[in-house]
Structure formats: structure tokens, C-alpha cells
Subunit: 188 residues, 2 copies
């Protein structure tokens, strides 16, 4: 990793963590800089609009991580349900590690912040990317494109609702129950 990339990545990861924990309005630029160990000049070099740019980068970073978990879950899955199940268990584990009080950085952006139109467009792009990631595997597993897109979208709708309920309850069990909720009891 080059020094440039490393500075930028450190900023995005520090911003993602802080936005998740404290929300957009609750996070100061100085805290992000301190946590990343980066001087103010470097911030504006990479992110000319400061906090708003970092918020969009945090949403992108999070979407990328979710797509990575989709790849890990589906690339060797024998069928769609196996992939969804592996994904849900991985995300439940991540939920437990992150601390359930933390928000989802993609949605923290949508609710907070002065620049809602830009943030919403970023959140929409993040969802599109995640649904496309899942749809790709649905097609690989033999579904026609329209069916694959619908399956992926329903899966992500269920995951989003399940993640929200898990946060409200501070309990990741609901994520592990999603495959049965969406597809009925597993066959023996």
C-alpha cells in the first residue's frame, strides 16, 4: 500500500467508525483526524469538502465491505439458500463484534447531515451495488436475470429490516433466523 493510499484509507476507516458510533452531527473533523493520525492538510487534499466527502466515502467503503462478505458467502455456495445462510451468519458475527449499539454508516448518512440529497444518492448507489453483487451469484446459480434481481432485492430488504431489528434488540439472533423467515424451514 502506498503512503497516499494508506493516509486516505486511514481517514475513511476512522470516519466510518466514528460516524457509526456517534452519527454524522456527533462526529467532529478533529476527532476523525486524531483517530486517523492524519494532519488537516492531508484531509483536504483527499477530501476537499471535508466531512461531507468523508461521509460519502464511508458509505462507499461500507458497501464495498458488504459486497466482499457476499463474495465470501456465495462463491462456493452450492445453492442460493446456502449463500444467504452463510452471509446472515457472517453478518450476525460482525454485528456481535461491532457492538450492536453502533449504527449502520450508510443510513446514519441518510438521516443526518446537511447535504441530504447528495447523501441519499450515495446511499442509493450503495444499495444498487449490494443488490447487484447478490444478483450476480443468483444468476451464477442458474436463475434468469429478472428472477435473480428479485431474489437479491428481497434478500437485501430482509437483511436491512433484520439488521434494524437486531440493533433495536441488541441481539443478532434475528439475522440468523432470516433464511427460515424468507425461504421456510430448511429441508433435511
Amino acid at each position: 500500500m502506498t503512503e497516499e493510499a494508506s493516509t486516505k484509507d486511514r481517514l475513511v476507516q476512522a470516519a466510518t467508525r466514528l460516524f457509526r458510533q456517534r452519527g454524522y452531527d456527533g462526529t467532529g473533523l478533529s476527532e476523525i483526524l486524531a483517530e486517523a493520525g492524519v494532519p488537516k492538510g492531508s484531509l483536504y487534499h483527499h477530501f476537499p469538502e471535508g466531512k461531507a466527502d468523508l461521509a460519502c466515502a464511508a458509505a462507499d467503503w461500507t458497501a464495498g465491505e458488504i459486497v466482499r462478505v457476499i463474495d465470501d458467502s456465495f462463491h462456493a455456495a452450492p445453492d442460493w439458500r446456502h449463500g444467504v445462510t452463510t452471509f446472515c451468519y457472517k453478518m450476525a458475527k460482525l454485528f456481535d463484534i461491532l457492538n450492536s449499539a453502533d449504527a449502520c454508516p450508510i443510513f446514519g448518512l441518510m438521516f443526518d447531515g446537511p447535504d441530504q440529497a447528495r447523501f441519499r444518492i450515495h446511499a442509493e448507489a450503495a444499495f444498487t451495488r449490494i443488490i447487484a453483487g447478490a444478483s450476480h451469484y443468483a444468476q451464477t446459480l442458474g436463475m434468469p436475470p429478472d428472477t435473480a434481481h428479485d431474489m437479491a432485492e428481497t434478500f437485501i430488504i430482509g437483511f436491512q429490516g433484520g439488521w434494524t431489528l437486531a440493533r433495536v434488540r441488541r441481539n443478532s439472533d434475528v439475522l440468523r433466523s432470516l433464511p427460515t423467515r424468507l425461504y421456510g424451514p430448511a429441508s433435511a
Copy 2:
């Protein structure tokens, strides 16, 4: 409606509207008072802790409204799917009226605000109340209690995820597609 109840209701409804539009941090007490047309003294009479109390009242009010839509949708429904379908169409219409940019006040609370533990507990109670409202009708329609609770919870998970995606897309179509997503194509 008594004068007392009317003042309190006006405060809660103004707070709910403003929190939904601007978030917790973005809404000032003075704006709530101005919108409700209520003097500051009355606020602290009804809500000693001011904005935090109003936020909890807004979550409760919203949960009550959702339960009311559940009642309207299910009380004459011939089966579960009809009730879910009516609910989804009613909420899609509400989404279109409210303006899709507005946040859900229950979740605005969870992400924002200094008093996250109290807000989260309120959000959890709101979800429990909504799921219990739907579960009641699932039982009335003949499901055993455990099945009814699971059906209701899956329905609310799907609705929460669908509402989020509708907000991201500023398009309520996803809400109308939920019955098919959850239960497959409607039989002729």
C-alpha cells in the same frame, strides 16, 4: 379533546413532523414550540426533559399510528395475505404523501441524540407493540401463537427493510411489491 390533551398532542405532532424532516440534532426546541403554537412553560409541564421526552413521545405516537393502520388493514381481512397487502398499499400511499425524503421518527431517534440508551429502549418497545398488533390478527385468522408471532415479525422485518429501500429510492413501489416478495405470486 380537553385543552390539556390538545396542547400535549400539538407538541407531539409538531415534534414528530420536525424530527422526521430534520432529525433530532437538526430540530430546535424553539422550532417545535413555534410550530405547535405552545409557550415554553407548557412544554416543561408536559415534557420535563424537553426534547428527549418529546423524542420518546414521537416514537410512541408513530408506533400507535402504525398499529392503527394495522387495525384498519386487518380487521376485515379474509386472510393474512389480504391484511398484509392492504397494509402495504396504505403505507405506500402514506409514504407518497409524507414525501419520501422524510425519515422514520422511530429510527431517527436511534441514530441521533445524546440519550441513546433511553431512545433504543423506546424504539424496542415500539417494535414490540407493532409486532404484537400484527400477531394479534394472525391469531384471529387462525394461526397458533408461535406461528402468528413469527409471521408478524417477518412481515415487520420486510416492511422495515422495504420502507428503508423506498426512502433510498424515493419510490414507494417496493412497498407494494412486499406481499409477492414475502409470500410468492398471488393465486388467481
